[in-house]
Amino acid sequence: MLSELRFGTVDEAYADLQRRTLAKIPGNFARLIYLASTRDYNSARYYHSGLADRFSPHVAEKALELAHRDVFRKLETSALAVLAEELDLYMRSTRENPLDFFRAWQAVEPFRVVVPVGTNPTSAALFISNVRFALAVLRSDQQQNFPPPDR
């Protein structure tokens, strides 16, 4: 409580995170990947050095967790068409070869680890299923528009 008064509230940290970091990331899918990457795999705790310095590690952690949940909720409640657009935007922002991207994402399924802790199992299942189908549709579009050269 005292530390929150001294270093600012979670809402202030959340607004700071939005303004300084998330606003510069194109699209909600990229934001989701970024926020999930601030979470430790082993402890499921969030960490961001700049935010922790400006506020406190505890306040920064809470702000990151809230932001992660908010972005996830935006995507999990989106229609499949919107999610596919977001995923396409993210794929382009990585500057990876699209076919390599689809191959890797369909094989490794990194989107499984971006679900926040405590998400309702139905919501998580729908999100994972939607990303799978969005990937399949985008890959199919890509192959139709830019077929791989004959070997």
Binding site: E65, A79, T122
Partner: protein, 189 residues
């Protein structure tokens, strides 16, 4: 097919339609919305699941995503999508069914040891509970046969019914001082 089978089938159909109409016509009251708003808060990192958002339920049981797949995906992918959505929809309905059953079972255990039961409220609670469970079973049947697309209204009405069960349970808990306070029913599980 003999006459008895036809009569039983028709009776079941009429009963299902009547139940469906009751569910669709029921609207949440202000009291329900207040409780729902009170329950919705930001969830801290606990082991408890958050509730399934209404928009998610609408997506599972809506037809927009299926329309998108019809327009963009090859036939094999469309079939896989329909199969996947059916599984997710069934997972949600069974989740709602089991969660309500669990809470009701806890409540009945507490009610058995209670000295001052309010019979009217208990009967009302059992009626709401049975209606909810019957609606879940009907939805399971329909989803298995026809898939979840186009059933968003029915699925939402199950969410409303869960709120009704929750409200009656809160009233029962308020009236019986000796009843153990059960954790209550979350909406849209």
């Amino acid at each position: 097919m003999n006459e008895t089978t036809v009569v039983v089938g028709l009776a079941f159909l009429v009963l299902s339609m009547a139940l469906g109409l009751i569910l669709l016509l029921r609207k949440p009251t202000g009291e329900i919305e207040d409780i729902e708003n009170g329950e919705r808060g930001r969830i801290s990192g606990s082991d408890q699941w958050s509730e399934c958002p209404q928009e998610t339920i609408e997506n599972i049981f809506g037809s927009d995503d299926l329309g998108f797949m019809r327009a963009k995906g090859p036939q094999k992918l469309r079939r896989a999508f329909q199969r996947d959505r059916r599984q997710i929809a069934l997972k949600w309905v069974w989740g709602a069914y089991e969660e309500t059953q669990r809470v009701m079972s806890q409540h009945l255990k507490a009610a058995r040891s209670s000295a001052d039961l309010n019979l009217t409220l208990e009967v009302s609670l059992v009626a709401e509970y049975l209606l909810h469970q019957a609606a879940c079973l009907i939805l399971v049947g329909v989803v298995r046969v026809a898939g979840p697309a186009g059933l968003a209204g029915f699925a939402s009405s199950i969410g409303n019914l869960r709120q009704h069960v929750s409200i009656v349970m809160v009233k029962v808990l308020g009236s019986g001082e000796n009843l153990d306070r059960s954790p209550g029913l979350r909406t849209h599980s």
